[in-house]
Every structure is written in structure tokens, then in C-alpha cells.
């Protein structure tokens, strides 16, 4: 049973929410002393608060994205105010955002006493992030959470729920008093506020889609009932203000006609134009938000429906059911591990519909039908491992050749095959792996046949390409393997192989086969290789 508490402690938890926010900054965990020690006492707290204001301004005022680079630039701007601090802006930005404000990705809680319900663990999260998929890679952008906005408004602006009305009243009064200069600023802050509402709703939608369990019913009630009711009221009020401004504009027009040289009047006219623009912007964004209300309700109801139909009443613990069991697993059972991942991996369609598998079957049919394949069959059945090894060695050689062309090409964009061959000779003690089966020469002929290996185009089409791992040279296999090691593929755009004259490349080398040394002489065009970075 909960004891009686004095009435003045009603809603006390709201005060403590502010304490929680302050605590997350002042008593920050994940401290890195090598960074902290470079600042005077209190400086980092000031910088962190400035940073929060910057994130708010960046996302609201300019309706823009706020990346870690934007934050680093901002820090570069304000750091001189704190003296000469020797630190890389980007390193500081990452520290302040990821380690402090995001607590290293871990949730941070603050114990709050709600006298009507008991102690609660309040999650403090002032900023949130979102991964944006760009054409080439991913980008993370940051914005304030509702909690963050609430906190910042409480530290400077007035209480959120009445602020909209107050801002509007201020605007009305300023226009009445013909203080257009201030009214322009006031109208800008209205645009800012409606954008805050907009981003509040967008964030709620994203949260809803990402993980319904992170959304509170109370939050939905506030958004749907509170925010939209407020918006609808404001929409009407804004209409009134629009009329007032129009009237002022009309009066100014009359004044201007009577005194066309008056600079003050012209200035006021410009201010009025901007006020009207801001009011129109606010009204149109309000209208858009109100229209989207039904969408939001539908998404919420659908997602809630999902969560009911898919409700998992009890969840198992990966630690107990999987990790601890894996630790006791005997080696002969390791082969079962793929089954753990089967439900989360994509279906391996290439495995089912790989044409190579069809060829493998045809090969076996021949095994029965043609006696002259017996040698090959014998090799296959008795010495599978060595054949597999040879195929892998061959494939690895092709990959290394293409990779080395890229590495050499980074230094010399345009070069002859003879130069490249010398480069390999210097780099590797023994280049038998490349000359064996004439691999390097055949690779060059294949690449010449391809003409232009367009890596940018390959990256775009890669999902639709099925690599041929049959042991023959296949540029796709090479590019997949190189990408695995170096996701940017050494920043190579294309490789072009051509021959523009009759210059030949000649080389002689010795290979050993069945205890015999065989001399080989190769003559082929001294191809021109162009690597575009």
C-alpha cells in the first residue's frame, strides 16, 4: 500500500526528469580522461549544452540533417571561446555525441520518485540518431528526442504546451504595435515551433515502425490528442494573424502612396512580406500535419494489431539457451551451427538455382557413360581434397592478380603488362602460383577480352550477378573477394586492358611436373593497363 503524501508533491517526478537530464551530462559515465583533462572545470558541460542547442537549431531552424561532421564544424566554431584546446574536432564530436550523450549506445536510467506510483526507472535519452542510406554508404544523423526538446525548452523557452500560444500572442501584439522588426523574429520562431511538432510526430512514427515495444500508449495519446488538438486550435489562430498582417500590409500600402520616399515604410513592407511568408509556411506545415493525423492513427493501430497477433509472451535468453550450450558443445556437433542462423539469414537462392550444380550432375552422368573419363573420375573420388585445393589455389591466384593490378594501378595509373609482371616478381619470392597453368597470362587474355572492367557498374549490379566459382577466371568472383577484404575495392573505378601497338612481352620460366623440370616460353602482347581511381 502506498502511503499518503503531501499534495505539493503531486507531479514531483516531472521535476526529477529535469534532474535526470542534467545528471546525464554532469555525472557522465564513459568518461575518457585523456579528453576530459584538456578542458577546465565546467567547460565540457557548457560545450555539451551548446551542442544540444546546436542540434535543435540545425534540425529545426534549417529543417536540415545534422551529421557528426556538422557537429565537428560547430565545435570548431565554439572551441576558441574556451581557450586554446589541442583536440581534433571530429574526435571531440564523437566523444560528446556517442560516449556521453548516447552513453556508448547503452541505455541510461535515473531513479525517480513518483509519490503516486512509487520509484520508477526513468530512461534518459536526450538525442537520437537515424541511419540514412545513401547511394554509396550509410550516414548517421542526429536529432533531439522529445525529452531533449522538453529539457531545452525548460532551460530557456517557456513550457511547451503554452509556448505556441504565447509565441502567437507576442506576434499579434508586435504587429499591432507596428514593431515589424521584432515581429519577423517572432514569426520565425513560430515556423521553428511547428517544425518541432512535425519532427516530434516523425520521430514517433519511426519509433513505432522500428520497435513498437519502445512506444508508450501515453506517448500516443499525447501525440494524437494533445498535439493535434493544439495544432487545430493554432491553425485557426494563425488564420486570424494572417488577416491582421494583411490588414497592416494594406495600411502600409496606403501610407506608402502618400509618402513614397519613406525608408521606414519600405523597410516595414519588407518585414511584413517576410512575416507573411513565415505565416504561410507555418500554416501549410500545420495543414500537412493535421492531414497526416489519420495516417498516423492507422499506422499506430496496425502496428499495435501486429504486436498483439505476434505477441511473444515469454522470451528466452540467448546467453542461457545458446551461448552456454555452445560452450559445452563437442566438436562433432559444430556442423549444426548453421541451423541457429537459418531463420535470420536470407534464403540462399544462389545455392538452389546455381547452374554450376547442374553441370556437376551432368559430369557425374558421364562418369558412368564414358570409360575415357575414368582418370578424371578416379581423381575425383580418391583425391577430392587435392582437387578442391587446386581449384581454390587457382581462384586465389586470379583474385591476387586482379588485386595486385589495383594496388599497382593506385601508384601508376597507366602501365604495361611487362611492368606489372616485374612488380609481381619483386613482390613475391616465388611467382609459380601465378605462372602455373599460365594463370596470369590467361587472366590477361580474359581481361583483354572483357576490355573494360567497370567496377562502379559492377557495384550497382552486384546483387543480380551470380559468380562462377567453377575454377575458370571470373571477374565477379575476384571482385566479391576483393570487396570482402577492402569494401571500397581500393577506390578503383575501372580497369581497362588494351593493346595499341605490336609490342610483345616474352618470358621464360621453369615449372616442375612429376619430378621433371619443364621450360616454358610465353609470348603475348605487352598489354596496356589503365586503372582509373
Amino acid at each position: 500500500m502506498i502511503a499518503k503524501y503531501p499534495e505539493y508533491l503531486e507531479g514531483f517526478y516531472k521535476r526529477m526528469q529535469v534532474s535526470g537530464a542534467v545528471d546525464s551530462i554532469v555525472n557522465r559515465r564513459e568518461r575518457k580522461m585523456d579528453i576530459e583533462n584538456r578542458f577546465n572545470s565546467g567547460d565540457l558541460e557548457n560545450i555539451l549544452f551548446s551542442l544540444l542547442v546546436f542540434i535543435m537549431e540545425k534540425t529545426l531552424s534549417e529543417d536540415n540533417e545534422c551529421s557528426i561532421n556538422n557537429i565537428a564544424d560547430f565545435l570548431g566554431l565554439i572551441l576558441p571561446f574556451y581557450g586554446e584546446i589541442d583536440i581534433d574536432n571530429l574526435i571531440l564530436a564523437e566523444y560528446l555525441v556517442k560516449d556521453i550523450l548516447q552513453n556508448g549506445g547503452k541505455p541510461r536510467f535515473f531513479d525517480i520518485m513518483d509519490y503516486s506510483a512509487g520509484k520508477i526507472k526513468y530512461r534518459v535519452k536526450l538525442i537520437d540518431d537515424k541511419v540514412i542510406y545513401t547511394e554509396k554508404s550509410y550516414k548517421v544523423i542526429y536529432r533531439l528526442t522529445d525529452q531533449g526538446y522538453d529539457f531545452l525548452f525548460r532551460t530557456k523557452e517557456v513550457d511547451d504546451e503554452i509556448s505556441f500560444t504565447i509565441e502567437e500572442l507576442k506576434l499579434k501584439e508586435l504587429i499591432k504595435r507596428k514593431n515589424y522588426k521584432k515581429a519577423v523574429l517572432q514569426s520565425r520562431s513560430l515556423v521553428q515551433m511547428v517544425r518541432q511538432k512535425k519532427s516530434e510526430i516523425l520521430r514517433f512514427l519511426e519509433k513505432l515502425r522500428e520497435n513498437i515495444y519502445s512506444v508508450d500508449v501515453a506517448e500516443y495519446e499525447i501525440i494524437i490528442k494533445g498535439t493535434y488538438a493544439l495544432l487545430e486550435d493554432e491553425y485557426k489562430v494563425m488564420d486570424d494573424i494572417h488577416k491582421t498582417v494583411k490588414l497592416s500590409e494594406f495600411n502600409l500600402f496606403k501610407d506608402e502612396n502618400s509618402d513614397s520616399d519613406n525608408v521606414e515604410i519600405r523597410k516595414a513592407k519588407n518585414d511584413i512580406a517576410e512575416i507573411l511568408k513565415n505565416i504561410d509556411r507555418t500554416v501549410s506545415e500545420q495543414r500537412e500535419l493535421i492531414i497526416n493525423r489519420h495516417n498516423l492513427s492507422k499506422i499506430y493501430i496496425d502496428t499495435i494489431g501486429d504486436s498483439f497477433s505476434k505477441t511473444i509472451n515469454r522470451r528466452f535468453d540467448i546467453e542461457d539457451e545458446i551461448l552456454c550450450v555452445m560452450e559445452k558443445l563437442s566438436e562433432d556437433k559444430y556442423c549444426c551451427l548453421w541451423k541457429l542462423f537459418n531463420p535470420i539469414f536470407k534464403p540462399d537462392i544462389k545455392n538452389i538455382l546455381n547452374l554450376i550444380k547442374l553441370y556437376e550432375r551432368q559430369y557425374k552422368l558421364r562418369e558412368k557413360e564414358f570409360a575415357n573419363f575414368s582418370d578424371i573420375v578416379e581423381n575425383l573420388t580418391e583425391n577430392d581434397e587435392s582437387i578442391i585445393f587446386l581449384e581454390k589455389e587457382r581462384t586465389n591466384a586470379y583474385i591476387d592478380i586482379v588485386k595486385n593490378i589495383m594496388i599497382y594501378g593506385k601508384e601508376f595509373n597507366k602501365f604495361r603488362f611487362s611492368d606489372f609482371f616485374s612488380f609481381l616478381n619483386e613482390k613475391y619470392e616465388n611467382i609459380d602460383v601465378f605462372t602455373s597453368e599460365e594463370r596470369i597470362f590467361r587472366t590477361m587474355l580474359k581481361l583483354y577480352d572483357i576490355g573494360l572492367l567497370d567496377i562502379i557498374a559492377w557495384k550497382k549490379e552486384r546483387e543480380n550477378i551470380i559468380a562462377d566459382i567453377s575454377g575458370e577466371f571470373d571477374a565477379n568472383v575476384c571482385l566479391y573477394a576483393i570487396e570482402d577484404e577492402n569494401p571500397d575495392i581500393y577506390n578503383v573505378i575501372s580497369i581497362k586492358i588494351s593493346k595499341d601497338d605490336n609490342v610483345n612481352f616474352e618470358c621464360e620460366y621453369t615449372i616442375s611436373e612429376n619430378n621433371l623440370n619443364i621450360n616454358k616460353k610465353i609470348i603475348l602482347s605487352d598489354f596496356l593497363i589503365e586503372v582509373q581511381i
Partner: protein, 230 residues
């Protein structure tokens, strides 16, 4: 288009992308809700041994654990890890992947998702703690055998023998974790950001883990995987 043809089209998209989303395949997604087409898909689910996890805006194809037709096999994993991959590497890769899932979704409350992102160095540190704990108990061998298999002690030693970090070397703990992370990234489960320093779960992984994978009812299935393995 006949219902069968539509169902086949949906199946094709599910096989190709692993998912059918309202945003990318609106028409088929609407058809997917058609009970007649859903009935055909139920037959596919039964014959091809998979489930469809259906949310309001997206549906995922989930091959059953033992489905080696649509799913992965240990051989695939070995091929991906490289031509010289050993069974130990396959195990370590699986263990690290599962460990990453544990860090992300180890929450015991209503919302199991615990982390927005994880730094690679943090995973290395946590694995270090785990393996060092095992190796530091090695004097009490009998007790250790009770708790871990001999093979796992070898795995811990294998991990311990790796260097911490060296940009140019593949035989480091950091590279081993990145390799496991890349494997998961290839499957659209996580994304690696910040120059290989940070990972985040994708919405696909969140959806599947929260709405399917962690269900207590699957424990029986998971136990069978370990018991039946030969």
C-alpha cells in the same frame, strides 16, 4: 494474373530479397493479404519448410532451422570465411555472431532490444573478459571440464592467441569480430559504420528477433538442434 501466379511472384520476391515490403512491392503486398493467395502461400510454407513472419508493413521469409534447401549450411559459412577456414573458425564466427545478438537483444523486459549501437572494440573487450575468465580457471581443470567442453577451451586459446589490433593483419581479434560482423551485414542483419568501428542492427533484424526468434516456444527447436547434431 491467376492467384497461383501471384503467389509464385510473392514467393519469388521473398526468395530473392528475403522480404516483401509495402514500400517496395506495394501491389504484391496488398495481394499478399488476400486470403486465397495466403492459403496458397501456406502450402508453400509447408512444402518448402519455411514460415512467413508478417508485420503491418513488411513480411519476412524465415526458413525453418533445418531447412538446408533454402537456408545456409556450415559449408556455405566455411566458404565465406575463406579457403583456409577451419572448423574452429566456423565455430568462432558463429559464437561471435550469437554474442553480438546477445548484446543487442539481451533485455529481459518487454522490450528486449538493449542497444542502439555497439562499438567493435567493446565486443572485443567483452569477448576478452569471457575467454580470459575461462582460461584463468584452467588450473581447476576438472571443474572447467564440467562447465565447458575441451573444444571450447581450445577456442578460448585460439582467441587469446590473436593480437588485439593491427591494421595490416587479419589475424587479430578486431579483424575476427569485423569478419563476423561483415558476415551479418551481408545478410542485412547489421550495418557496419564509422570505418569499421561501430555496428547497428537493421530493422529486419529487430523485426525478426523481436517478433520471432526470441520466442520461448522456439527453445524446444533450438535444443533439438544441439541434441540432434551429428
Amino acid at each position: 494474373m491467376s492467384e497461383l501466379k501471384t503467389a509464385l511472384n510473392i514467393f519469388r520476391i521473398l526468395l530473392k530479397k528475403g522480404e516483401l515490403s509495402k514500400d517496395n512491392d506495394l501491389e504484391l503486398f496488398i495481394e499478399f493479404k488476400n486470403p486465397d493467395i495466403r492459403t496458397i502461400l501456406y502450402d508453400f510454407e509447408e512444402v518448402f519448410e519455411f514460415d512467413i513472419v508478417e508485420l503491418s508493413h513488411i513480411a519476412y521469409i524465415i526458413p525453418n532451422s533445418s531447412n538446408d534447401l533454402l537456408g545456409w549450411t556450415s559449408k556455405n559459412m566455411r566458404e565465406w570465411l575463406g579457403s583456409d577456414a577451419r572448423l574452429v573458425d566456423v565455430f568462432l564466427n558463429s559464437y561471435i555472431s550469437m554474442f553480438i545478438l546477445h548484446i543487442f537483444y539481451g533485455g529481459k523486459n518487454r522490450n528486449p532490444k538493449q542497444r542502439d549501437f555497439i562499438r567493435i572494440h567493446e565486443i572485443v573487450e567483452k569477448l576478452d573478459e569471457r575467454f580470459i575468465r575461462i582460461l584463468s580457471n584452467s588450473e581447476d581443470y576438472e571443474k572447467m571440464e564440467e562447465k565447458y567442453s575441451i573444444n571450447f577451451i581450445k577456442i578460448a586459446q585460439e582467441w587469446d592467441s590473436k593480437q588485439g589490433y593491427d591494421e595490416n593483419s587479419r589475424k587479430t581479434k578486431t579483424y575476427t569480430v569485423i569478419k563476423a560482423a561483415r558476415f551479418m551485414q551481408k545478410e542485412d542483419l547489421i550495418i557496419i559504420l564509422d570505418d569499421n568501428r561501430e555496428i547497428r542492427s537493421t530493422s529486419k533484424l529487430d523485426d525478426i528477433m523481436i517478433n520471432y526468434y526470441l520466442d520461448q516456444d522456439r527453445v524446444k527447436d533450438i535444443r533439438e538442434i544441439f541434441e540432434d547434431a551429428i
